[in-house]
Every structure is written in structure tokens, then in C-alpha cells.
Amino acid sequence: MIRTHELTKRFGRVTAVDRVDLDVREGDVYGFLGANGSGKTTTVRMLLGLVLATSGTIEVMGRPMPRSGRSVLPQVGALVEGPAAYPHLSGRANLALLEAAGRGTRRRGRRQRIAETLAQVGLDPDDRRGVRTYSLGMRQRLGLAAALLRRPRLLVLDEPTNGLDPHGIHEVRDLLAELRAGGTTVFLSSHLLAEVEQVCSRVGVLDQGRLVVQDQLDALRGPTGRTVVHTPDTDLARSLLDGRESATSGQRLVVSDPDVPHLVHRLVAGGVRVHEVAPERRTLEQVVLQASAGAGDRHAGAASPPAVESGAS
């Protein structure tokens, strides 16, 4: 769906995006992670033909961008760096103007489509007030509506939950799940790990312009080969594990042994009271922090050994 090769953008002497090879497949909800200033937005803008690459190639839906923008972009919905609208017009009037602009617009059913899309994002289609009276959350919803208006095959969303309250964030999450079920590919750029962790199937991490991780979320969060044990009897447990425990904090032990049933048996037989025993998994946060820390070494990232500290049980 999106494929870039050695995509690079330099602004003067600053390299904002450095030889990025993105691979987003059809049907993915792709989480594009990175700190502020890591080059996410510049990458998104290049995908959409707003910013021209210094070098490298971009393919969207199998066609080169920005050259094929005319045929590709009508099938793409985008929310780039916050919503934007003409403040003196209502949300509905704004969508009507946007929908009438450019090619491939179908006049037939436009009103209905606009009303439906507004309802879909939780805005009142009959609201006649100017957008200048809208709250941040309402503007964000309007931006989402603009992106969804043409029922796109690919949805590019840059920080879509920005400014939304928890209820709104939940709604956006449901909306994304619905779209995904309907076959829409979503490219979700965000700095919110939790957001990406909850909705995405595939993840790319950008750090200082470089793509340091790109993989299926499940693979990234795969078991580390160690087991986490929660017990009040830490000392007794340690003595039974003869040196295989690698870290202890409070009632939590990390053991270098993936065999959970065996460990449970051994601990219980030795009289240790156990709250919980589970394979250690890395959180996305660990993956990201670690990949970023290892970014100096190009080949670090996902291949390096897991962090010593803790994981969820």
C-alpha cells in the first residue's frame, strides 16, 4: 500500500528524514511512532506529495508519488498535523467546499454523504455555527470527517486523537477498528505509544529521521524467553531457583527460564506462595526506547537483546 525506498529529505543542512524504507501492507493499521521532531510529519507530507523528497522513491497503491498524485490521492483520506477549516463557515459548509474542490467529485448524493460523515464522527450535521466557535475536539472530529468523506482506501492520520477527551479517544479507536474491518488501510502517525499499542497491527519507529524498527506488533512484543514471578517469599524463591533469577524488585522476580509450568511446580513444591507467574513480554515502550537508544548503531533496534528491566505479566 505504501512503500518507500531510501526516502530522504534534507532541509538545508538538516537531514529530517534519512533513508527510510517504509512497508505498509494492504489492510494494515500501521502505527508510525516517533518523538516530536523525529521526522514523522515530514515523512507523511512526502507520502502525500506536499513536501518533495530530496532523494529516494515513494509508491502509494503501487504508483509512484508525487507523480501519480492525480490518480492516487482521490483514494486517500488525510489528517495532517491537525485539522484546518475556514473559521467563518460551518463544518458542513467547509466539507462541501472541500468536497467540491479538485477532481473526481461526484455532485450526486454530496449532501447526504456529508451529513452521514459528520454523524459518523459525532458532529451534528445541522450545526450552523462557524467553525471558529468549535472546541478543539470538535475541530479534530471535523478533520476526521474531511479525511473520511471520500470513503478512502488508505487513511493517513497524523495524531488523530489530539485534543480529544477520553470518551472521544475511545470513539476514534472504535472508528478505526470499524474501518479496518471494512478493509481500509490506516497509516497512523502518533507519539502516543498506548494509542498505537491498542489499535495497530504493524509498527514502524522513526528516530532522528531513521526508521529503527519496523515489524508486526505481535512479533515485537513476543516473549523474551524469561518469566516473571510475583511472590511475597522472594528469598525462599531465589534459593530454589539456584541463581537463574536475573532481577528482583519488591515482590517481583525475573527468571531466565521460559518454562512456566516447570517453574510453578518447583516453587509450589518448595513451599513458595505465588501470586502470579507469566512469560515476560516487552512493552512497545521498551521496544521504542531501546531502538532509539541503539539508533547510533544502525543495525541495533529489534535485533539487540531485551532490556533488563521488567515487563508486563
Binding site: 502525500l48 506536499l50 513536501v51 518533495l52 490521492l73 484546518a84 473559521p87 467546499l97 472541500l98
Partner: protein
């Protein structure tokens, strides 16, 4: 796209505020002239103003002559300067371009919209000028345009029929609209170079002020034929008998020249620009 842009122009309150303000000054002048009956001596003051005391049908032209040197170009510079920079400021530019609207197409639509704005403005100024002239300066109802009797006198002193006045007024409106092409295209060029609509408008106005200053400077004599404001008031020549075409034609050529150069520069700059707004 052109239709969308024109719709945007018409739905903007600012468009109508600008037009209302452009009409305020000629109306004030009409009231003052009618109350005091003191017109400028022939040959001084804005063109046609000395003539309107005796002939109110020329007041639309006096109104245009009043707004042309400063007010109209400022309004044009504001509207054209806003064209791209304003969209960048509100952030809507990126959404237009990913619709997608082609960049050349957008520039073209914006240029056409500015021309529509100028045309709308001069027609309204002339129309309001006519009404105001009839109310404050006219004696009795205006003669219908088809009547062949003597309705007005030309600037040369010979008689013009009502039909001739109407025809020449239409020509003058067209000429004034064309006169604004240069500043419109320049403001649009600047608008593609900055994200500040005000800066683009001020830049274009500054250029016109420079042109006006140089026109008054004998040392810049060699440049005079090329200055954009040089032939602005040449529409007066359309009311001579016979019409004196030389300056009018030169004025149109000059404006088209500026228009083509600036519009192409705007397109060249915008076509490959990184949109980071």
C-alpha cells in the same frame, strides 16, 4: 475549482466589507460636492469631478478615478495576497492540495477569482456611483441610453449620446479591471513566497507606491514607460472625441506583460514548493 474559489470569495464577509469601504469615499465626495457645489477647477482634482457638477452621468467615472490610485489596488493586493498565504495560514492549503487540486490549477483559480473580485468591485463602484450621482448631483431622471439626443459632453467638449456614454463607461470598467492585473499577479507571487497574507499584500502595495514615487521623479524618466501605474488613469482618454487609444493600448499591454511575468513566476515558485504550513 474556479467555481469553488469564487464561492469562497463571495461567502467571505471581508469581500463585502472591502467593497463597502471602496464605495464610501466616492459617496462622501458626492455629498460634499452637492452640498457645497464647489467642484475642483477644471484640470485639477480627480478626473471628471469638475464635470459632474453639470453632468451626473459622469459620476461613476469620477468614482472610479477616486478609488483607482490607492483604494482599489490596496483591496486587490489584500485579496490576491491572501490567495495562497491565507490558505497556508488557516492550514487549508495542505488539505486542498491532497484532495488533490493541482498546484497550477489552484494558482489559475486564484488568479481568476481575483479578476472576478476586481470586476465585481468596479461594477459596484460604478453602479453605486451612478445612483449616488443621480441622487445628489442629477437633475431629473437619467435619459434612457437608446435616446440619440445629446446626453453628455465628452472631455473634449463635444457631445456624446447616452448610448455612447454607456458604451464608453463599459470600456472604462474593462480598462480599470485590466489595470489591476499587474498588482494582482504580483501579490499572488508574493503570496506563494510567504505564509503571511499581510506581508504579501504590503509587498505589492509597496511596489505600487515605489512606482508612483518614480513617476513623479524626473530623474527616473527612462523608466516611466514601464512603470505599472503609468497609464492607470488613461481611461479618461476613452471619453475624448475621438477616443485617444494610444495610452489605453499601452496601458493594457503593460499590464498584460506584468501579469504574465508575475503569474508565471508564481506558478514556477509554487509548483515545486515544499508545503510545510
Amino acid at each position: 475549482m474556479i467555481g469553488v474559489e469564487i464561492l469562497k470569495l463571495l461567502r467571505r464577509p471581508r469581500t463585502w466589507v472591502a467593497i463597502a469601504m471602496l464605495n464610501a469615499l466616492p459617496t462622501l465626495v458626492a455629498i460634499l460636492v452637492s452640498v457645497t457645489e464647489v467642484g475642483p477647477a477644471p484640470g485639477t482634482g480627480p478626473p471628471f469631478l469638475s464635470a459632474v457638477l453639470t453632468d451626473a452621468t459622469l459620476f461613476p467615472l469620477a468614482a472610479l478615478a477616486i478609488v483607482l490610485p490607492l483604494f482599489l489596488p490596496i483591496a486587490v493586493a489584500v485579496v490576491a495576497g491572501e490567495a495562497i498565504a491565507g490558505e497556508a495560514q488557516t492550514g487549508t492549503l495542505r488539505y486542498l492540495l491532497v484532495r488533490p487540486v493541482g498546484r497550477a490549477h489552484l494558482i489559475l483559480a486564484k488568479l481568476v477569482t481575483v479578476v472576478v473580485f476586481v470586476l465585481l468591485t468596479v461594477v459596484i463602484v460604478a453602479g453605486v456611483g451612478y445612483v449616488v450621482g443621480q441622487i445628489f448631483l442629477g437633475q431629473g431622471p437619467a435619459p434612457p441610453p437608446a435616446v440619440t439626443s445629446v446626453a453628455s459632453s465628452s472631455v473634449s467638449g463635444t457631445a456624446l449620446t447616452g448610448a455612447e456614454v454607456a458604451q464608453r463607461t463599459a470600456l472604462a470598467l474593462g480598462y480599470v479591471t485590466l489595470s489591476m492585473l499587474g498588482v494582482a499577479a504580483l501579490a499572488l507571487l508574493l503570496s506563494t513566497m510567504t505564509d503571511s497574507a499581510i506581508a504579501a499584500a504590503l509587498g505589492a502595495v509597496g511596489f505600487l507606491i515605489a512606482s508612483t514615487v518614480l513617476l513623479g521623479l524626473d530623474a527616473a524618466q527612462a523608466w516611466h514607460p514601464w512603470l505599472p501605474t503609468r497609464h492607470w488613469l488613461a481611461f479618461v482618454d476613452l471619453f475624448r472625441d475621438p477616443i485617444l487609444w494610444d495610452d489605453v493600448v499601452r496601458g493594457v499591454q503593460l499590464q498584460l506583460g506584468y501579469f504574465v511575468v508575475f503569474a508565471l513566476a508564481a506558478w514556477a515558485n509554487f509548483a515545486t514548493k515544499d508545503i510545510t504550513s
